[in-house]
């Protein structure tokens, strides 16, 4: 899995930090991705972060 954030769209709501605190951190008013290819046990949290991002700024690419 690869995580990409479109910083043009991020407004720093911090929903991803609540959904997946191991993967995202708020850096002033934008998010910072702590791990853009997370281990399997973080995949579900990453998907929730992308799903609930209020600005749809998080894109997740699943690997086969």
């Amino acid at each position: 899995m690869r995580i990409a954030v479109d910083l043009d769209l991020c407004q720093g709501h911090g929903v991803c930090c609540s959904e997946a605190p191991a993967l995202f951190e708020l850096d002033r008013d934008k998010v910072r991705v702590l791990d853009d290819s997370p281990p399997a046990d973080q995949h579900a949290a990453a998907r929730l972060a992308a799903k609930y991002c209020p600005t749809l700024a998080i894109k997740i690419q699943e690997e086969n």
Partner: protein, 466 residues
């Protein structure tokens, strides 16, 4: 700032437009001398915007009393608008009808960087949402206590009052909210009705609509003066946002902010989230009630979710798919803002066209949300658009734009959705509703830039049997 002789400014810049390469956007036909399409804008704005799309294509220019407004429609053109840098497309100068409502020196004085940082005041951040959800659930229960067994409400009045309490309690403070009375939402209604597009000629013309607006604003200053004088004298209590602001002193000991300015801040904080959320709540109830089977589906979902006795404040932050789809579909069909505007700070290019600095560019959620190429059968209320697999809001993120999109997407969108979910969870668990009027009689009033439901817009209710 914004109202400083726009006519002269646009004439000068359009004369130099050809020097910048791209061609000028096609101009919309019709329009009167001097006023251009302004009367059409005041009479039937959505029809006017569709006329631009149908006649000129994805880029076309209107004339509002000498203000040249270039409307961009379609996913690609709208994406260019939403992705533009704030320094290029400036929100501040685009809404002259708001200046007298907010008052001078209040809302749009910040630089783009300062506005980006507004999020840092934290009140809209995810961490705060749980607390807000509790506050909203408590306010909804409080207003429900007044409803009794059965009766009739006016949807505009009911949801205006409720959202005034919820927004002020969440965003300003719980003590401040206790100061508010129904008079406040009536004053807000007058302010909102004062946003006549004739402001594009001059927002201070001696017209009844503007006199009423100015009287309403003066009354609000009067009401808040009493509130703050009382709060300054009292012992104890919490120091909330406005108490802190009013206590700030300049080096010479004079107050940094006047009550007039704080009133402006109050209006601006409430404005973004008040008529928008209140109108959406009313439309959600209307659409659920006038589309066969819709309310039953949502009620069954809400009943099932809360059957275990869980708290509304907990669930409002999570999924309530049928209810959310109903809210989203109401937002798509009846976006609270029908046009979003920016002033071009330096030349804006799109597809071989150039919009020179000084003109306004705009997109219309009312048009975009009903483009048939993105939303099949666009006039139909169809909550299944948001079901897994279809998700038309996500697949067309630059076309499904009740909250705007891109850099300027409404920062209160998540708060608003949570608020609506909380309000309807409680209302539908405890009451049954039915429309009091013929279903087609519920209409928006588009004669002002701030859209409002046309009154009467009444519904009957009865307490559900447990």
């Amino acid at each position: 700032m914004s109202e400083a002789s726009p006519m002269i400014e646009t004439q000068v810049t359009s004369a130099t437009a050809s020097a910048h390469g791209g061609s000028a956007p096609p101009r919309l036909s019709g329009g009167l001398p001097l006023l251009g399409h302004l009367l059409e804008l005041r009479r039937a704005p959505i029809e006017l915007f569709w006329r631009v799309r149908n006649e000129c294509g994805e880029i076309g220019e209107m004339n509002w009393a000498g203000n040249r407004v270039v409307l961009l429609t379609g996913e690609a053109a709208q994406e260019a608008f939403f992705r533009a840098e704030e320094e290029q497309l400036d929100q501040a100068a685009a809404y002259p009808f708001m200046t007298p409502v907010f008052g001078r020196g209040v809302v749009f004085d910040g630089t783009p960087e300062q506005r980006r940082q507004a999020m840092r005041n934290q009140s809209l951040r995810d961490k705060m949402m749980r607390t807000h959800a509790e506050t909203i659930a408590a306010e909804t229960r409080r207003i429900m206590e007044r409803l009794g067994e059965s009766g009739e409400i006016d949807l505009l009045d009911f949801f205006s009052e409720l959202t005034l309490y919820t927004s002020s309690a969440c965003l300003i403070g719980k003590e401040f909210r206790e100061e508010l009375t129904p008079e406040y939402f009536r004053v807000f209604y007058e302010l909102e009705k004062g946003t006549d597009a004739i402001a594009y000629v001059n927002p201070n013309l001696p017209l009844p609509v503007f006199r009423k607006r100015d009287r309403a604003r003066a009354r609000l200053v009067e009401l808040l003066t009493e509130v703050f004088e009382r709060r300054a004298r009292r012992e104890g209590g919490t120091r909330e946002l406005f108490d802190v602001l009013l206590a700030i002193r300049n080096p010479d000991g004079t107050p940094r902010y006047t009550i007039d300015q704080v009133t402006g801040m109050f209006i601006s904080m409430m404005f973004a989230g008040h008529h928008t959320t209140s109108g959406t709540a009313a439309w959600t109830l209307i659409e659920l009630l006038r589309n066969p089977g819709a309310i039953e589906k949502v009620r069954a979902e809400v009943d099932a979710i809360y059957a275990d006795g869980r708290e509304v404040s907990y669930q409002a932050l999570r999924e309530i798919p049928e209810l959310e789809a109903g809210i989203k579909e109401s937002l798509r069909l009846h976006p609270p803002l029908i046009i979003l505007m920016r002033k071009v700070a330096y030349d804006f290019h799109y597809d071989g066209y150039t919009v020179p600095a000084g003109k306004l560019v705009a997109v219309s959620p009312a048009v975009s949300n009903r483009m048939p190429e993105c939303f099949p059968d666009p006039d139909r209320f169809d909550p299944s658009r948001y079901a897994e697999g279809r998700e038309e809001d996500r697949h067309h993120a630059m076309a499904w734009i009740p909250f705007g999109a891109g850099r300027h997407r409404c920062v209160g969108a998540a708060f608003a959705m949570m608020q609506l979910k909380a309000i309807f969870s409680d209302l539908l668990l405890r009451y049954e509703f039915e429309l009091s009027q013929p279903p087609e009689s519920y209409r928006n009033d588009h004669s002002k830039m701030v859209v409002q439901l046309r009154q009467p817009c009444r519904a009957r209710y009865r307490r559900r049997v447990a």
